[in-house]
């Protein structure tokens, strides 16, 4: 971890580009508090109307999966082909299925 940073805490920025769309990670900003983080995120990431709504989250509050365990972590879904519609046979002529 980097040493003490006097440039304020780090916030991760998530943005909704259009009403109804999911929020996507846009980048990060430094700010003294949440309100300032929102304003900074607006100035840095929405200069061309890229967003209709912004979330800012303290970077140290994010819990992430670890890359080393990517295999075992996602393993439970790997062999469950029956979760996909293509697993099932649909007789010819049957519609709307």
């Amino acid at each position: 971890m980097a040493e003490q940073d006097t440039q304020w805490p780090l916030w991760e920025v998530f943005m909704q580009s259009k009403s109804g769309q999911p929020y996507k990670h846009a980048g990060s900003v430094h700010a003294a508090d949440g309100e300032m983080a929102l304003e900074n995120a607006r100035d840095v990431y929405t200069r061309r109307n890229e967003g209709t709504s912004i979330w800012v989250v303290p970077a140290n509050a994010i819990v992430a999966s670890t890359p080393e365990e990517v295999g075992s972590f996602f393993d439970p879904a790997n062999d469950k082909v029956y979760r996909h519609p293509t697993f099932y046979d649909v007789p010819e002529g049957v519609k709307y299925l």
């Binding site: 971890m1 980097a2 040493e3 003490q4 940073d5 006097t6 440039q7 304020w8 780090l10 980048g27 990060s28 900003v29 430094h30 003294a32 508090d33 300032m36 100035d43 840095v44 200069r47 061309r48 992430a64 670890t66 890359p67 080393e68 365990e69 295999g71 075992s72």
Partner: protein
Amino acid sequence: MPELSQLELETRFQKKIDDNLYIEPKDWMLEKYRQNLLRQISQHAHSEVVGMLPEANWITRAPNLRRKAALLAKIQDEAGHGLYLYSAAETLGSSREQILNAFLTGKAKYSSIFNYPTLTWADIGAIGWLVDGAAIINQVMLQRASYGPYARAMIRICREESFHQRQGFEILLTLCRGSKDQKAMAQDALNRWWWPSLMMFGPHDKDSPHTGDMTKWRVKRESNDELRQKFIDRTVPQADFLGITMPDKDLKWNETTGHYDFGEINWEEFNQVVSGNGPCNRERMNARVKAHTDGKWVRDAATAYANKKRNKAA
């Protein structure tokens, strides 16, 4: 999960890069990869920030409101680009504080092109057209660099930069269609900015120390000389359209190679500017340090205000 040996980790890392996958901040990475990227991304960030200075020189003297608004927007973009890149650099385990200190104490470098002065309004045109034009060639390549946060920052930056180059070209086109003096001013700007723009691509491949590893790690996908040639091939016809000429008597179309031949770059000048003896090196650093120092009370006030609000809420 069994512990992997250093060799296995390195092999996996390189295979990921070779498979055109991306390295993300928490992934295992070669220490030299991390260091080289941190150096490159932070230098890139500093360049965006210093790049604001030569242009800021003309904000109050822009010839009309349209030009002033465009120039302000461009400079604001450069600040944003610096911030995207600082964020990307921070994911490599260095703090914003450390990165800025390396810059303000002169330990970290920035692109030498910004150590040239902007003497006339036409220089603002030349910067947009040539300097941003050269930067775009380099940055388009970097959009697919192997480090995820860097590649994503580049995609965003490239999307925003195309207006920079167009506004520069438009400034020069207006001057070239104007009076004799205005056209001469455009020619003079081209004379002064052409060679430094070519130097932006760095030394010839045979003299470029970092190219080997950066190519292997898919950060650099095209060599300095290839990128430079691409820039020349694209830009010369644009100058023809403007009706001004590059200050290079050896520049001519080569039917056989399908590229422009060009004269030798003055590498002595390049080395001088890189090592701190360009026309504006000291001025640029002083301006940056002054801005940082003068801004301290704002940072302190914002911190105090945030603390006050937090204490009230508690």
